[in-house]
């Protein structure tokens, strides 16, 4: 425990636990298989293995294709203390959720739209199999990329032929990454991810927009709009106004530490303000279980807490890795993948220096993570 924490006015651990405990009544799983309308919650049995650090644990959530409204489905992939091993067999990090993302499905009279394509062949194929049961075999006519990261775009090839849609920036970035793949490269064999035979193929968007796009799937209105820069410089979300459902892509993280490694922290807060002002009942995050505005607000809170703390340490000349290790993120310390704080501090520092661009300096970020992990390990040991 760093004395610097108290002197900078951060919550004591006791205060942090007290505050977070109230929020744990919120749930990760919902009543009924065909939940329609406002989402109701029931308390989830907390994992028996409480954190050895005494931090409140986050809930766990399972993989499922969940109906949110007629013709509207969320596909959530498992995570949390009891769920993460479905995908990540040995975790180096707390409840590792890395690249385990969510998707969305909207079914129209003749075809279906997919929001995000997941990060691995077996993820995509499992989703497609589950989707086919509810689409009755209607073709996927459209795949929307919420942003360019591989855990949302690697699976696109398995939905072809379909129109791929994204923001201009996302398309450019995916196209550049696609061009860098040596033909014949395969996904490495990995249990629950890839069987080792699938070619690495990235399909960039052929249709792009820069602000808003509306699709009418039968009676279901689907509005895509750009909210970047936030998690990246090409973030789009999908909003269904009739059902007040938001597919947030990686602009929203529930119980998974938000990552801004190629995004813009301050503008992300503004994006959250915009979304929180909207009429939304159900939120499908890019990572984590379904939630409501309450969970969505926590993404904003994460950065709202971190920004001022980052600034203090920047001004004091602390390296980003050390600063990340030094900042007590309160209840967020119990979320998965907390070491992302190191990436996030690198981006805050770029903002403070006035040098932030869409590109992320991978070397600097790697070093920051190493420093963070070393300092946090030392603290525990």
């Amino acid at each position: 425990m760093s004395d610097a924490r108290h002197s900078t006015g951060l919550l004591s651990r006791r205060e942090a636990i007290g505050r977070a405990a109230g929020g744990l009544g919120v749930l990760a799983s919902f009543l009924g298989h065909e939940a329609i309308g406002a989402v109701e919650g029931e308390p989830v049995e907390q994992s028996g293995a409480a954190s050895s650090m005494g931090l409140p644990t986050i809930p766990s959530w399972r993989t499922e294709l969940r109906a949110l409204a007629p013709n509207v489905y969320a596909y959530v992939q498992a995570g949390g203390p009891d769920g993460y091993r479905e995908f990540i067999k040995e975790s180096r990090l707390q409840y590792d959720n890395l690249s385990v993302s969510n998707a969305g499905l909207i079914v129209g009279p003749n075809s279906a739209l997919v929001f995000d394509a997941l990060g691995a062949p077996l993820h995509a194929k499992t989703f497609i199999a589950a989707a086919k049961e509810v689409t009755g075999g209607k073709p996927f006519d459209r795949v929307v990329h919420s942003h360019h990261h591989g855990d949302h775009t690697n699976g696109t090839q398995f939905f072809m032929p379909a129109e791929v849609v994204s923001h201009d920036f996302c398309r450019k970035t995916v196209a550049a990454a696609a061009a860098n793949i040596k033909p014949g490269t395969k996904f490495a064999k990995r249990e629950a991810w890839a069987d080792g035979t699938e070619d690495r193929i990235l399909v960039p968007a052929s249709t792009t927009f820069s602000d808003r796009q509306t699709y009418y799937y039968g009676d279901t209105v689907v509005e895509l709009f750009f909210v970047g820069p936030a998690h990246t410089y090409g973030d789009v979300v999908a909003y269904l106004p009739q059902h007040r459902i938001l597919f947030g892509g990686d602009v929203v993280f529930h119980y998974v530490t938000p990552a801004v490694q190629s995004g813009h922290p301050s503008r992300w807060i503004q994006a959250m303000d915009r979304l929180l002002a909207m009429n939304i009942d159900v939120v499908v995050p890019g990572h984590g279980p379904l939630g409501t505005k309450k969970e969505m607000a926590e993404t904003r809170e994460y950065f709202a807490i971190q920004g001022p703390e980052a600034r203090k340490r920047f001004d004091a000349g602390m390296s980003p890795g050390r600063a990340a290790a030094d900042i007590d993120m309160g209840k967020f310390e119990g979320w998965t993948n907390p070491d992302r704080a190191a990436w996030n501090l690198c981006r805050w520092y770029e903002e403070f220096k006035g040098t932030i661009t869409p590109e992320n300096d991978q070397r600097v970020q790697r070093e920051a993570v190493e420093e963070y992990l070393a300092l946090r390990a030392a603290r525990r040991g």
Partner: protein
């Protein structure tokens, strides 16, 4: 040349009579109610190539013309020699009414259509021509705006995805709602055989400003450039080929119609087009053109607005104003009676009462007055 089909009625008076009633000739003369009957003076108000005789416009034929690899314009015939291809008896000088143009962009799997034309026989001929030329079928249709001469053919492109500006979709839905279920296209030679049932085919994808598609390696940008011919016009711009499918934002040799539009804002849109990197423009009506014709269209609006303003300021009625304004070279364009509705829309701008909807009733009153004043017996021939 003699105007065709202008209604002459017993109530018409010669211009000479009208002037005498007003007590004089020339600028600013005043009739009984203090309103001038004419502001025409010796000076022509719009450029006139030769005193007393105006050369006719050229004619153009129906054709699917390739503009670039994978890019075609579909122009429907018009002008003095060709207008009868669609309108055997012209009511309105080489009537071009609802005889519109379209476009095609070829993709790897299917085609993009720009606009769907006004009638079953037009749409079917276009689709057949495009399929013959490319061996592919339409997967997507863009409506440049909601008017029937660009959207009535939508149903013949289904199951293609139909894309438009947000405003356009709303207007198409409104038109669909006003139709009787099971209505058919009225039988009309060269337009419909009378058996085709109208099927609702509104846009299912909309956007407010810009969307970009990739057809093969050809970029097609759909852009909203501002209010102009309607409140929801979009153009299809192909930057690599410097081609613009302008929809009804440009008219070439055909009098433009502002009935659902806004003249001043339309001029601004034309300025935007003039500043774009464009060589070839496919208009909503008339033959394919370039930036020169955009400037000509802009001048039409600038001159009409200037002349309408003068007459508005002295309280002249719309019909009389439209009859009184000599639009010079533009008088030989097709469908010149549109000047009436265009003056009406300008008056609404001047009154600050302009809205997207068109007041047909008011226009009909003005059109009556215009026709009376322009009747051959009135002495004003064109």
């Amino acid at each position: 040349m003699k105007k065709r089909g202008v209604l002459g009625t017993a109530a018409s008076m010669t211009r000479r009579d009208a002037l005498r009633l007003g007590g004089g000739a020339g600028l600013g003369l005043v009739a009984a109610l203090g309103v001038p009957v004419s502001l025409v003076d010796a000076e022509a108000q719009a450029p006139s190539p030769a005193a007393g005789r105006r050369p006719s416009i050229p004619s153009w034929k129906t054709e699917l013309r390739q503009l670039a690899p994978g890019v075609y314009a579909y122009v429907q015939a018009g002008g003095p020699e060709m207008y009868r291809t669609f309108i055997p008896e012209s009511l309105n000088q080489f009537d071009n009414g609802s005889v519109s143009n379209a476009g095609v962009v070829v993709g790897e799997r299917d085609l993009l259509a720009i606009d769907a034309l006004a009638a079953p026989l037009h749409a079917k001929a276009f689709i057949a021509a495009a399929t013959n030329a490319t061996g592919k079928t339409f997967g997507r249709l863009v409506n440049t705006h909601h008017h029937g001469d660009h959207t009535n053919g939508n149903q013949f492109f289904l199951p293609a995805e139909i894309v438009s500006h947000e405003f356009c979709r709303e207007e198409v839905l409104r038109a669909i709602a006003s139709r009787e279920p099971g209505a058919t296209f009225g039988k009309r030679e060269f337009w419909a055989d009378g058996t085709e049932v109208r099927v609702a085919a509104p846009p299912v994808t909309t956007f407010p400003n810009k969307i970009s598609y990739l057809y093969g390696s050809t970029v097609v940008e759909l852009l909203f450039l501002g209010i102009g011919h309607t409140w929801g016009d979009i153009v299809a711009y192909l930057p690599q080929h410097r081609i613009l499918f302008a929809g009804d934002l440009t008219f070439n040799l055909v009098t433009p119609s502002v009935h659902n539009g806004h003249t001043t804002k339309w001029i601004e849109v034309l300025d935007t087009i003039m500043a774009m990197d464009v060589d070839t423009i496919v208009p909503g009506h008339g033959p394919i053109h370039g930036k020169k014709e955009v400037a000509v269209l802009r001048d039409y609006f600038v001159i009409l607005k200037r002349e309408a303003r003068k007459r508005f300021d002295v309280g002249m009625s719309i019909g009389r104003a439209a009859a009184d304004i000599d639009m010079g070279m533009y008088e030989v364009w097709t469908n010149p009676e549109r000047n009436v509705r265009n003056v009406l829309r300008l008056y609404d701008e001047f009154n600050d009462t302009i809205v997207p909807a068109f007041d047909s009733a008011r226009n009909n009153v003005a059109l009556e007055e215009y026709r009376t004043l322009r009747a051959p017996s009135s002495g004003r021939t064109r």
